[in-house]
Symmetry: C2
């Protein structure tokens, strides 16, 4: 076993950065971001790029039944279960260059650094790109890792449709035709550990001038749809008293929800992200409105309480329209493995990288994999905490620093 | 000149109703309404249907430069300017069978009734179908009559684009290829009078159990767009204090606007009809929102005051986002000609039809034509006052009653 630091020293900051630059060309947007939605042509292009790099380094590539893509560096013990590291390559419709992609490229850089340093591990280490983490095209998000972990039935997920009515199974088949890879039968296999590197997607590391976030867990998250039905009417003739204006009702409901979710310590995350108002004619009183709610908090009890309040608001503020709220997704808070947390913190300290413990505000594939094996995450700063935005940015030195911690942690876990 | 009542008695309720049934097949929707937007294939089909009926009765057909369609029954004096009557055949995307179409078919029924009764008028009488009254596809609405009256420059209107980027001039050319009619050069000609029949699109006639609305004028109307810019951010990680959530800002702005436009006598009409929220991802804090405002009142001073309040609300409630409000259309209130108003009221009384004076809540083509010649309107009830809705409905007997008043008024004006 190599001394601590040998693998870290082999991490190549420039190579890692150039890989980000190349990946950012797939789905590049005019404003400098990426639009690489799950199982799109851009997703296929990114898969081909990664697989090509892997093959040139002699790493084997495989894909499971939900399209998760694995790059494997063999270990010395062919019977040992692998240690896994990665994230996702799909993006929001107007997403950035680092969200998800960093975790995939950091894991791949870790494999290359071990290779370059001539370090052998007992267990294989695999880099993974999970399918459809973002959930912007197909819901729920974190789908590939969720299927891998047995949280979502594969058959159900293959039938999920996007907003245009395309079934995920069809999009997946088309993606794998465009980016073929040897099939790994089924979904899920034994793991010795999972570590995911990711940009923080929040401002805390930057504000506190720390390089490494030692992630202790992931807050719980819930998704809802509110549907309000009113009555279409002529905008010029219908008196206010005779209207069933569903956008006016939506405004009352949304305003009450924003007020109810304003907690003193600014921990509850409440977002209305997608809003549809029909029929969408300027001179017709709208007859139907729907909107999505994304709500997150580290405490499931807080989420339960907030959910009850949202239900009461919908019931109390809809009249004279009618409204319903439906829960689409609920993901419980995740606590990461204490030994992995300690290992990340200890490695950062040994590498003399400033660090702090923190929970993750965003959901990540790690929340599903944490049910299978000892799991942790490593955060690095992103500029102004901005993410899910084309101007998302991160510093090459920070990306490399996170990868140095990652490779040391992976090598340690792969020798346990 | 025929005695009062001869033309009215020749109005054929069943024929008029059957023409509505036939017209409702062009653009029919599953829920019983119509989607016959301006200069669409469905609009062309309606034009062909009307022109075919006209030709079978020996009436001449013509189209002017903005696509207004005229059906002319000659008078005895070939030098006399015509009396005009009609409305529009285009509909809202989810519109009803009577809005606009009734006025066109009532005018056409009036020509047929005069023909059947063998009544000759000194002046010609023309039925007109104005182009693009609804304004849901191309803005502004009441465009054909506005161009006819010199309110909107023809060249500008031909360049207006729909939401898909199609220029009105191109859509018009395609419509006239599909529904050819002899060209009437230019736009606008001398008129001796204009009377438009229309469903009320409000509940007053039904509530007061009257058959005929003697329309005294049209309230003023204004159209605005509000655009709010925030910043896209991750829904799970971005603290509320760090967000520039433009839908939250839109909610505050809209709520304040609904409150500010709540007048004690329920006369001001305020509608937010079209709302766009981008990028439209459930787990991204929205970065841009826009919505339309349609505001109407019989008093221009009230509209001016409300407009100032809307501006102050946008300025005061946008932070931390930025927002602007732009006025797109302003149409001043219209007062109809007192002699035409008296003629409508007197004719209704002679025909023993219950009636009441009322302003129009909706804008109509008559507001533009009132600038050219003595103008009036005749309203008939519509079920529950519902319009701009697929369930819009009216009683055959009421439609015929309005047409009886119309034909008598037109015959009177055509003999002045």
């Amino acid at each position: 076993m190599a001394e601590t630091g040998a693998a870290a020293r082999a991490v190549d900051q420039d190579r890692l950065w150039q890989r980000h630059v190349e990946m950012a060309r797939t789905g590049a947007t005019p404003r400098g971001g990426v639009n690489r939605q799950a199982l799109s042509a851009e997703d296929a292009a990114a898969r081909n790029l990664l697989a090509g790099w892997a093959q040139r380094r002699g790493f084997s590539v495989s894909t499971d039944s939900i399209g998760n893509l694995f790059v494997r560096r063999a270990g010395s013990d062919p019977t040992a279960s692998p240690v896994l590291s990665g994230s996702h390559m799909d993006s929001q419709p107007t997403g950035g260059r680092f969200d998800g992609m960093y975790g995939v490229l950091a894991a791949f850089e870790a494999l290359e650094a071990l290779e370059d340093a001539g370090i052998t591990t007992r267990r294989p280490i695999e880099a993974v790109a999970w399918t459809n983490e973002e959930g912007s095209r197909f819901q729920p998000g974190a789908m590939g890792s969720g299927v891998f972990a047995g949280q979502y039935p594969l058959a159900d997920m293959l039938q999920v449709k996007d907003w245009k009515g395309v079934a995920l199974g069809d999009a997946l088949a088309e993606t794998l035709r465009a980016a073929p890879a040897p099939a790994r039968s089924g979904c899920g296999f034994g793991l010795a550990g999972y570590v995911e590197a990711h940009i923080e997607q929040g401002p805390r590391l930057e504000n506190e001038r720390r390089t490494i976030g030692v992630v202790t867990g992931i807050q719980g998250s819930r998704r809802y749809i509110v549907e309000i039905e009113g009555e279409e009417a002529h905008a010029g003739t219908t008196p206010r008293a005779a209207r069933k204006d569903c956008f006016a009702a939506a405004t009352r409901i949304a305003a009450a929800m924003y007020a109810a979710t304003t907690d003193a310590d600014d921990t509850l995350r409440f977002t209305i992200g997608r809003v549809e108002v029909g029929p969408g004619s300027p001179n017709t009183v709208p007859g139907r409105t729907s909107f999505t709610i994304d709500m997150r908090h580290p405490s499931d009890e807080t989420l339960d309480r907030a959910e009850r309040e949202l239900g009461a608001i919908v019931a109390g503020h809809a009249a004279p329209c009618t409204a319903v709220i439906r829960r689409i997704v609920a993901v419980a808070p995740t606590a990461f493995d204490p030994t992995v947390i300690d290992l990340v913190r200890g490695t950062a300290a040994k590498l003399q990288l400033s660090n702090m413990d923190m929970p993750s505000g965003a959901g990540h594939d790690a929340m599903h994999i944490a049910r299978l094996c000892p799991t942790g995450m490593i955060f690095v700063p992103c500029e102004r905490g901005i993410s899910h935005n084309e101007i998302e940015n991160a510093a090459p030195a920070d990306l490399a620093a996170g990868t140095r911690v990652l490779v040391e942690v992976l090598a340690h876990l792969a020798n346990r």
